[in-house]
């Protein structure tokens, strides 16, 4: 293995890959643009839906006995509401609400004998599966609550009671977390998962292209008949796939931070919640090293699986299981209470995800980080050793073996070691 050869091959692979649309899209554009586009899309969608609901007038019908109450007055004075009294002949209320012709219905329930004659119980009918109907119900409840508060204030005033007496207590919460810490908490939940997904996605196309794609194009035999050793060829390909995989992860992190600061933070600020999306400088090398370790492992695994394929399509289906496996653990640990412990530091991928999460909030448990790094390195070494053993088989190297990695493992490695 010569580094000069590896350098020549690496540059050729990278140059060639950066001219392939699917690789540029999968490893660079998606990681870079996914978050801004996703956040912009979600925010625009939410704003549109909220705006639509707020601007629509709620069509509320009431029974005649409500007309004489203050509730009817309150509803009628609300510009966002139109109230109509329905005659008994129009009382097919439920089907009209279900069909969207009407948003809500309000009626008075018969007074219960044991309660005060002043006590009124209202019955509101609406369709929770319809946004407009749900908004109408909220507006009715808001009107009723506001009337109740007014009434209590009047009664309290009449009885000479101050607010502190009839309200009994008030609550003033103090959040010890700074806006920056709150931002880090949110990022700690989101960033590790997407970082791992993007490192995997970034490795997928290059890994398949460098192995199965090479065979499909017929360039594999051209390459192995050059003076470069098979070791140099495979090392250069591995480094190239790792580069794009790692780049996808880090570009994604950058895009995520920018999007959160430019789109998410102002939106939260408009609702009165201030969050600052910044990560400590010291965590950047830790996150970059973690992304590199993940990229080394995922790239090796995907190349190993895809090297048994003869076409790009076949390669994709062979490498896809690792893609799923790589981010499956994230679904189980995506709870804020889970932290890096000695046991979790031994679990591949999960350990790096937790290192990411803690690094984002500026926490560095160095002994556990060292364990996590060691575990990932052992895993990478194991995959590379397996790849080296597999590539000793000539038919795999030249692409004449027809079968998947798992079939090969069963036929050539497990069965032979048993005999």
């Amino acid at each position: 293995m010569k580094w000069r050869e590896i350098g020549i091959l690496y540059r050729m692979e990278l140059r060639s890959a950066l001219r392939e649309r699917s690789i540029v899209v999968g490893s660079i554009l998606i990681p870079l643009l996914l978050y801004p586009l996703l956040m912009w899309g979600i925010m625009s969608g939410l704003t549109f839906v909220m705006g639509q609901s707020e601007s629509q007038v709620s069509r509320i019908a009431s029974s005649a006995d409500v007309e004489s109450t203050r509730v009817f007055e309150a509803l009628e004075s609300d510009e966002r509401v139109s109230v109509e009294i329905l005659l008994p002949s129009h009382l097919d209320i439920r089907s009209r609400i279900r069909s969207g012709e009407l948003d809500a219905w309000i009626e008075l329930m018969p007074a219960a004998a044991e309660l005060s004659p002043e006590f009124r119980k209202y019955h509101v009918v609406y369709d929770g599966s319809k946004d407009r109907s749900a908004v109408a119900e909220t507006r009715i409840v808001e009107s009723l609550d506001s009337l109740r508060t007014e009434r209590m204030e009047d009664e309290a005033k009449r009885a000479g009671l101050g607010e502190e007496v009839w309200q009994q207590y008030s609550v003033a919460s103090e959040n010890l977390a700074s806006s920056r810490q709150m931002g880090q908490f949110i990022m700690g939940l989101i960033v590790p998962m997407f970082l791992i997904i993007m490192v995997s996605a970034g490795a997928m196309y290059p890994a398949v292209d460098a192995t199965a794609g090479e065979r499909e194009r017929g360039t594999w035999e051209t390459l192995v008949s050059t003076a470069a050793s098979p070791g140099s060829i495979i090392t250069a390909k591995y480094l190239y796939v790792t580069t794009l995989s790692c780049a996808a992860g880090l570009l994604n992190l950058f895009a995520m931070l920018v999007s959160m600061r430019a789109i998410f933070a102002p939106m939260l600020a408009s609702t009165g919640k201030n969050m600052e999306f910044k990560i400590p400088l010291a965590s950047i090398p830790v996150i970059a090293a973690g992304a590199l370790l993940l990229a080394l492992f995922i790239s090796a695994g995907m190349m190993l699986l895809a090297s048994f394929a003869r076409t790009f399509k076949e390669g994709q289906s062979m490498a896809a299981p690792l893609y799923v496996v790589s981010f499956l653990p994230m679904l189980f640990i995506n709870s804020p209470g889970i932290v890096l412990t000695p046991k979790l530091a031994l679990v591949p991928i999960v350990n790096i995800a937790l290192v990411f999460r803690e690094a984002i909030s500026g926490t560095f448990q160095w002994p556990l980080i060292a364990v996590a790094v060691a575990v990932e390195l052992v895993l990478v070494a194991a995959v590379l050793l397996l790849a080296q053993r597999v590539l000793r088989f000539e038919d795999v190297l030249i692409g004449s073996y027809s079968g998947s990695f798992f079939r090969f493992l069963k036929e050539r490695i497990i069965r032979r070691s048993q005999t």
Partner: protein, 251 residues
């Protein structure tokens, strides 16, 4: 002291182990030599062992037994040196579609160890020789099949190797392209290259090979000049000569 031929095979053997068919001797202890400035033809039907022999010589495959050398380098012990001294061309050796013709030639010259300082001049001379100038900066995937063939030939000799291997190079080519290919191979011979040329097309072997080895089921049945083979069998046409040896081997 005798000078060893550029390409030598002695008792060269390749055995494949097939899960369903068992042991398969694709190349069965063959011997031959190819000399400088010679086109040595391997003539045989599909599956006779031509490609396997050439893959053994180009070190893509490892021999199961025997020896072979290229320019004095053993194919097992010095595989890198062997590959640096030969150019391998076959219908299955495609070009990188996303590189330009110039980048392709530079890459193959560089990876095969051509002196860095001379690569630019070498590429320029290849571009002139193979008439690539017009499309030298166009990506390979945008080229016509004729243009690709020229770039492919130029890439085979990008590092100016003394030994060239052509494995059924005219398969899938039209008549004109095949004739052009044969002319180029003859030119390489004139330059003193040692050329191994495999084909199953009798007329092609007849036209361009200085010596022909008839290969069948991994064994060389005969190896001589066309005239030598004619004298040995009493037949004139290579097709009849070939059939004669086939018959003899079945008897």
């Amino acid at each position: 002291m005798s000078v060893e031929a550029p390409v030598v095979a002695r008792g060269l053997l390749k055995v494949f182990h097939d899960e369903s068919r068992g042991e398969l001797r694709a190349v069965d202890e063959i011997d031959f030599e190819c000399h400088r400035g010679e086109i040595f033809g391997l003539l045989g039907a599909n599956g006779a062992g031509k490609t396997t022999t050439l893959r053994l010589l180009s070190t893509v495959l490892k021999p199961s037994g025997g020896h072979a050398s290229v320019m004095g380098y053993d194919v097992l012990e010095s595989s890198g040196e062997v590959r640096a001294h030969l150019g391998f061309y076959s219908a299955s050796t495609a070009l990188y579609p996303r590189l330009t013709a110039r980048e392709t030639l530079e890459f193959f010259a560089r990876i095969n160890g051509y002196p860095e300082a001379e690569i630019e001049n070498r590429v320029r001379s290849l571009v002139d020789r193979f008439g690539i100038e017009e499309f030298v900066d166009v990506r390979v995937d945008k080229l016509s099949s004729g243009m690709k063939q020229r770039v492919s030939l130029a890439r085979t000799v990008a590092h100016d190797p003394p030994v060239l291997i052509f494995d059924e190079p005219t398969v899938a080519l039209d008549v004109m392209a095949a004739i052009e290919m044969q002319d180029v191979i003859r030119e390489f011979r004139e330059e003193g290259k040692t050329i191994l040329f495999s084909t199953h097309v009798m007329s092609e072997a007849e036209k361009i090979c200085d010596r022909i080895a008839i290969i069948h089921r991994g064994r060389i049945l005969a190896c001589d000049t066309l005239n030598g083979l004619r004298e040995e069998t009493g037949k004139h046409y290579l097709e009849d000569i070939f059939l004669e040896f086939m018959r003899e081997s079945h008897d």
